[in-house]
């Protein structure tokens, strides 16, 4: 019995190891998500991983942990987003996109936000109105400096932090907060249960910057997907995500804009945007 048990264990461990170590033509890719699992950025990372098919996924503790994993892992794909870098800087962490020299950029994109209230509610962000308005927003953006930018415009906003847009939407529907500052994909999912007063997309009719000259009215998440791989097969596999039905459906459904037609300079726009965000919303 003892021998049989030991043989079975050995056979099982061998099988697991062989399966685990078996290789195919393209080296294994690891997708690294530095954002919270309930944020729109995490949904983007999941969609990218799903489009790759057989990639590994790493959910990091924070952006520095993600950076460490990126440096240690061959053929790593980093799903950078501007909000993550902003939050990291606020916490004294080094999560910067700069320098771009050691990164091969494969995708850049933007995801804009909406400011919404429950359907039928009359609350608004009117300057000069003394009513205290609670606004739910992802915790990384829930800074005192951000709250002050609203107050400077005469809007009495109290910012309430949440783990991400999903939880902001739930809190809005539950009546915990007056306004939800959420990704436009998640806002669209709520259907007619909410109405969105403003959009941060400069091309939208209800662009926030047209009504309230608050700092960073064009707030968005800038996505930059980059890799440390120089393997042509891996790079081709990553570029092929652009042809993936899964990924394109995600972009459409989540209302995220982006392109795989990129150069190394494409990351520069994201770097400058984060500088502006940090200048206006960071607690220093």
């Amino acid at each position: 019995m003892k021998k049989v048990s030991l043989m079975l264990i050995a056979a099982f461990l061998t099988a697991v190891t062989v399966i685990g170590c078996s290789s195919n033509d393209t080296p294994e890719v690891t997708v690294i998500n530095p954002s919270h699992k309930t944020s729109p950025a995490a949904v983007f990372a999941f969609a990218f991983r799903d489009a790759l098919g057989d990639a590994k996924f790493y959910q990091s503790e924070d952006c520095e942990d993600a950076g460490r994993k990126y440096r240690e892992t061959p053929n790593a794909v980093f799903i950078y987003n501007s909000s993550m870098e902003f939050a990291g800087r606020n916490k004294g962490l080094n999560c910067n996109l700069e320098p771009l020299t050691d990164k091969k950029i494969v995708f850049v994109g933007q995801h804009y936000f909406k400011l919404c209230r429950r359907a039928g509610d009359t609350v608004d962000l009117v300057p000069g109105n003394n009513r205290r308005v609670t606004m739910g927003i992802a915790s990384m953006l829930a800074t005192q400096a951000h709250e002050n930018t609203w107050k400077e415009q005469g809007v009495n906003v109290k910012i309430v932090p949440y783990s991400g847009s999903k939880t902001v939407a739930k809190a809005l529907l539950a009546g915990d907060i007056d306004i939800g500052f959420m990704g436009q994909g998640i806002a669209a999912k709520q259907g007619d249960r909410i109405e969105c007063l403003y959009s941060t997309n400069p091309e939208a009719d209800n662009y926030l910057g047209k009504s309230i000259p608050v700092a960073v009215p064009d707030f968005h998440i800038s996505f930059v997907v980059y890799t440390n791989s120089k393997d042509p097969k891996v790079l081709e596999k990553l570029r092929n995500v652009g042809n993936s039905e899964v990924f394109n459906n995600y972009l459409k459904k989540s209302m995220t804009q982006g392109t795989f037609d990129v150069t190394q300079d494409s990351g520069q726009t994201a770097i400058e945007y984060v500088r502006r965000l940090y200048k206006n919303w960071a607690d220093r």
Partner: protein, 432 residues
């Protein structure tokens, strides 16, 4: 569809072994899922998990009745009664408990399906409000403390410890929150369960089966359907209460239903089977885990970035059915199969138990080593760090076991601590 049937059969196998081997906990199915969930969708996860969960309960009673070793904790309530039963009475009991378990499970499946399909909690959004969340968490913590009145202070310490290491990537917390919790960076819920529950039980487990009797389930013409129905409803209600659902249901039915020992045992078995399905309802509808099993699955879905209440009514991708409809159909099939399996081959199960129990420590040691090896394959920390953390949690597990302190409050706080902290932060911002 074939793959789902295979997942359910795999779940049934795990459930049977989990029920027959007391050293394997009733959450063994959920626990095993941690090693291979990554490529599974929600339907596959639920089919495997619930098949094994139901099976553990079914076959736990077979182990208890045939060998007097409780296959699952909810059988403890009647274990001493069994010494008064002769072989013929036990054989009749085997059939009656199988039938009452089946009736209760079918009833609970129906109620679960009705509740999830028609009680649209999405249309009652206030249930998700931070006030309700805080009320639930306060209720949970108070119930943990009140159930363990004499050890409330230690329970509170375990809860505080769990809450302190739970938050991850929470930017609303002050920086110094993470000053010492970095020591626990990289722990997995899987590792915590291995250390706190599985390993301490392995080293303290010692039984010897000596039975040489011939068992077979014998049909009893006096089966009372009405009593079984009442016990099932009691179990179902008990299952909705956070904590050890099956045990609570079993004890309640044993106390209030039936006039003699046999009737009470049948009632207890009906109740614990309906209780386990009721216990998944708060999780399905509100993403609120109420026991070890649902806590484990909640952790797995977190890793997928999924919210149970959103997924349960989503299309399953099979036959045009929603996840809940498909899972319900498969559970009906699984329950029918369990009824057949639990009323036949009883001697075979006893032989398995005798065979495995003869070398139980070696078998369990092998299982634990395999589980550690599998966890290490996906762990994001070094082997040394992993072993240190495992050693720490094992030490905690031994201490809790030695002093008979429930590990459930700590497990709850480790898994739900992040949400609890968020609720606290939000309440403070909204009201102060």
């Amino acid at each position: 569809m074939i793959d789902l049937i295979l997942f359910s059969l795999f779940g049934i196998t795990v459930g049977i072994l989990g029920g027959l081997l007391p050293a394997l906990p009733v959450y063994i199915g959920a626990f095993l899922l941690y090693t291979f969930h990554q490529d599974l969708n929600v339907t596959e996860i639920l089919v495997f998990w619930l098949s094994s969960f139901i099976g553990g309960q079914y076959f736990g009673s077979i182990a208890t009745i045939t060998t007097n070793i409780p296959g699952e904790e909810s059988s403890l309530v009647y274990i001493n009664d069994l010494y008064k039963f002769d072989l013929y009475e036990k054989n009749k009991l085997l059939y009656d408990t199988a039938l009452s378990s089946s009736v209760a499970t079918f009833l609970a499946i129906g109620l679960m399906w009705l509740g999830i399909s028609f009680l649209r909690l999405n249309e009652l959004p206030f249930l998700y409000s931070v006030n309700v969340q805080v009320a639930i968490y306060v209720f949970l913590i108070l119930s943990f403390l009140l159930v363990n009145k004499e050890k409330w202070f230690i329970i509170l310490l375990t809860i505080l410890f769990g809450v302190s290491i739970a938050p991850r990537a929470n930017y609303a917390l002050p920086n110094n929150w993470y000053d010492w919790t970095w020591l626990f960076d990289g722990y997995t819920f899987y590792l915590v369960i291995l250390g706190i529950l599985i390993i301490p039980n392995l080293f303290t487990y010692d039984v010897d089966i000596k039975s040489n009797k011939h068992f077979e389930a014998v049909r009893d013409r006096n089966f009372n359907w009405w009593r079984t129905f009442k016990a099932s409803i009691i179990g179902f209600i008990a299952g909705l209460i956070p904590g050890p659902s099956a045990e609570t249901g079993s004890i309640a039915a044993y106390r209030f239903i039936g006039k003699n020992k046999k009737e009470k045992i049948i009632a207890a078995e009906a109740a614990n089977n309906s209780a386990i399905l009721a216990s998944v309802i708060p999780f399905f509808m509100m993403t609120l885990p109420v026991n070890n099993n649902t806590l484990l699955i909640s952790g797995i879905l977190d890793m997928h970035g999924l919210t149970m209440s959103d997924e349960i009514l989503a299309p399953s991708g099979y036959l045009g059915l929603n996840v809940i409809d498909l899972v319900t159909l498969i559970l009906i099939f699984v329950t029918g199969l369990y009824y057949l399996l639990s009323t036949t081959f009883i001697d075979f199960y006893v032989k398995i138990m005798k065979l495995i129990h003869g070398k139980i420590k070696l078998v369990l040691l092998g299982i634990v080593l395999i589980l550690i090896y599998l966890d290490l394959l996906s762990a994001e920390i070094t082997i040394e760090h992993y072993l240190i953390l495992l050693g720490f949690f094992t030490f905690i597990g031994f201490v809790l076991k030695k002093f008979n302190i429930s590990a459930i409050p700590m497990m709850f706080s480790i898994l739900l601590g992040d949400r609890l902290i968020w609720a606290g932060i939000q309440v403070s911002k909204i009201y102060f």
